[in-house]
């Protein structure tokens, strides 16, 4: 899933300065799961913004709504009427969501309430970790299911480098060395011979930016 975090309240308030009617729009998929932009987070943000406004003597209108998924136009149809009644939409979806709303309703300004971070998974309550870079050239079959592109700080295809220390990375000693993990995993799977294989430089042409995929 896509992991994101809410921007600081001060930054959000600065962004919405000058708009009187704002629709705070949540997304019920990825950002709801990472506790950044679901129904609840929308309610908390709106409550905070209303109180901050009252303290500073403002009286803006905040509407709250959460769609199932911001990144698909079909799910945005339900806000069509509300969009006509506001000056701006503050999206609590990922960057894709913000752009999808903006493309669906080009006449209205869409502001990002979140900073989109990465594709990842929950490690424990409140902690998410990056697992995939979406490089379009998956080699997980050769690396014991551990992605060196994402989890090695240097993105090495042939590791480990000389900077590995007791299974930790020299770039950030808090983080595990991906290639040590790969070695340990392959050893457990009895496939250490894969470790000796040389990985040629990646084909960066697989995903041209911006990416596009069509089922043939």
């Amino acid at each position: 899933m896509i992991v994101a975090k809410q921007k600081p309240l001060e930054e959000i308030r600065e962004m919405i300065e000058g708009y009187e009617r704002i629709l705070v729009l949540g997304c019920g998929t990825c950002t709801a799961i990472c506790l950044a932009g679901g129904d609840k987070e929308v309610a908390v943000l709106v409550s905070s913004l209303r109180m901050a406004d009252k303290i500073s003597g403002k009286n803006r209108l905040f509407r709250e709504h959460t769609v199932e998924r911001q990144c698909e136009w079909e799910f945005l149809d339900e806000i069509e009427e509300q969009v006509k009644e506001v000056d701006a939409i503050l999206s609590l979806g990922c960057g894709v969501g913000v752009q999808a709303i903006s493309e669906r309703f080009p006449e209205i300004l869409v502001l990002p309430g979140l900073d989109t971070l990465f594709m990842g998974m929950p490690q424990e309550e409140g902690i998410w970790i990056e697992r995939c870079s979406g490089c379009g050239n998956c080699i997980l079959d050769e690396t014991g299911g551990i992605c060196p592109i994402t989890r090695c700080a240097k993105g090495l295809l042939n590791g480990p480098c000389g900077g590995t220390r007791d299974g930790k990375c020299e770039v950030d000693p808090e983080k595990d060395c991906a290639w040590t993990l790969i070695y340990q995993r392959l050893e457990k799977q009895g496939k250490l011979e894969l470790f000796d294989e040389y990985h040629p430089p990646r084909n960066f042409q697989v995903v041209m930016r911006p990416g596009k995929f069509m089922i043939k």
Binding site: K40, S48, R50, M51, A52, I55, G57
Partner: protein
């Protein structure tokens, strides 16, 4: 605006059924005096208090809020009070960032037998909020 001397704060107390609520009950039975500014909301566990409950209390004009849960290690649901503490801490951060100030919110830990402690918490919060003055949200 009400002058400082006349100001009677409205304080919402989210109290756990197994400790703080029972302590408040016991305080009554023991005829302990504590300020009448406290409005108690009983919860099945302090861990059921939601960030939104706290914020809505302030949004609707509470001058102060406190959450009272069991002593650490004594939660009927193992770690509800620890969860509540984390939520209170998060809410304090929000109160700071909107300009209301973290001091209007507090978390207390006590057992069902600590009626004097409940009365003390009620007094402590009332005095603190009285010093801070009315919530700026209320007057608008």
């Amino acid at each position: 605006m009400t002058s400082q001397s006349q100001f009677e704060p409205q304080i919402i107390a989210f109290a756990c059924h197994y400790c703080a609520y029972a302590a408040a009950d016991l305080a009554g039975i023991m005829r302990l005096q504590y300020p009448t500014n406290i409005r108690i909301i009983k919860l099945p566990c302090s861990g059921t208090v939601d960030l939104l409950h706290i914020l809505k209390a302030f949004e609707q004009g509470a001058d102060g809020v406190f959450v009272a849960g069991c002593l650490k290690g004594g939660c009927h649901f193992i770690e509800g009070n620890i969860r509540a503490e984390r939520r209170v801490e998060r809410a304090k951060g929000i109160l700071d960032s909107i300009g209301l100030g973290r001091d209007r919110l507090e978390m207390f830990f006590l057992s069902a037998s600590e009626a004097p402690r409940f009365a003390e918490a009620a007094r402590e919060m009332t005095e603190r909020i009285r010093r801070l003055g009315p919530s700026p949200i209320k007057g608008v």
